[in-house]
Symmetry: C2
Subunit: 191 residues, 2 copies
């Protein structure tokens, strides 16, 4: 059930049998229906979600009620509002499944105990967050260096299957564009 999670972790650190077993015993499994919520804004984000299958989206709601997607969570990715999680404060984010999804859940309540029993998990998450932070800075750079149209093309080139997988308006939101503009881009290319 947690095969993919264990494999992911063991790409970064080594676990012995006891540790593997402990980890599996404290994780929770959840199957989320399409449009099901794992986090709603105003609530505390009391869990980290590791995506086993499906796809999540993390978004905030702008003043005008419009949803701004911050990131997608595909299998092998952790999704969490870290600030809310660590400080037990209400979150600004919503996390919703864009399709039927399965997640492995690590609850805040048990995190510290788990880390103290498997200290190398600190290293695992250090490496995970370091990578994610790095990717996030790269993204900021690209955002400012490329036009909206270029961003779309690059994304479509890098993740051709994913572009098919989520509705176009979600992709538009994620890329900071309007669905109408993506339509225009696509019409251009079709010609």
């Amino acid at each position: 059930m947690y095969e993919d999670l264990l494999n992911h972790i063991e790409k970064y650190i080594r676990l012995n049998d006891a540790e593997r077993q402990l980890l599996v015993s404290v994780m929770r499994y959840e199957k989320v229906p399409k449009k099901g919520f794992l986090l709603k804004s105003g609530k505390v984000c009391s869990s980290r979600f590791f995506v086993l299958s499906g796809c999540l989206r993390q978004y905030i709601i702008k003043e005008n009620e419009v949803e701004q997607i911050i990131q997608f969570g595909l299998p092998g990715w952790w999704i969490c509002d870290h600030h809310s999680f660590e400080n037990n404060q209400p979150s600004e984010y919503c996390v919703q499944a864009t399709e039927v999804s399965e997640v492995a859940i690590l609850d805040a309540a048990i995190q510290e105990d788990l880390f103290s029993k498997i200290p190398s998990l600190e290293r695992y998450f250090r490496l995970i967050f370091q990578r994610a932070y790095d990717a996030s800075l790269t993204r900021i750079g690209l955002e400012y260096c490329m036009s909206g149209e270029e961003r779309y093309h690059q994304f479509a080139k890098n993740f051709p299957d994913f572009v098919q997988r989520v509705p176009q308006y979600m992709l538009a939101s994620f890329l900071g564009l309007t669905p109408e503009f993506i339509s225009i881009i696509r019409a251009k290319k079709g010609k």
Copy 2:
């Protein structure tokens, strides 16, 4: 000399005297003149820089030779190209001092040894990167939710002293705007 660094670390983890001493003994100190470089693109980023005083800027160079600033490093902030650092690969970034600055340097060559001797440093960096990642996602969200003008006003409100501290064209680059446009915004407000 490394007071601020130790204080920073001890906000997140506890160090004993031996650990403090070890840490201090392996850090390097460097004073960087205004416009001095700590990293140039094409080179491997073989150090993490903790800003003790002054201010750094991290930027990439776009096709058109224009510099795009990704982030500033103020005292208490770590600056590094994590990907280059961990994988020993050439960096895309430049890191330059915008004013006379002092940094504490942690070299890649000694990181693993240091972490094995002070394992709680993994936790320290896990927490640091978690925070930085979180901040970076928040920034992406704001970028898409606010107009350029709003972004400038919010930034100027949150960091009034910093706006005075760096040339306006650097601020413009960081905010993804042109210096001309910031001039217009300021002229408006002046009225």
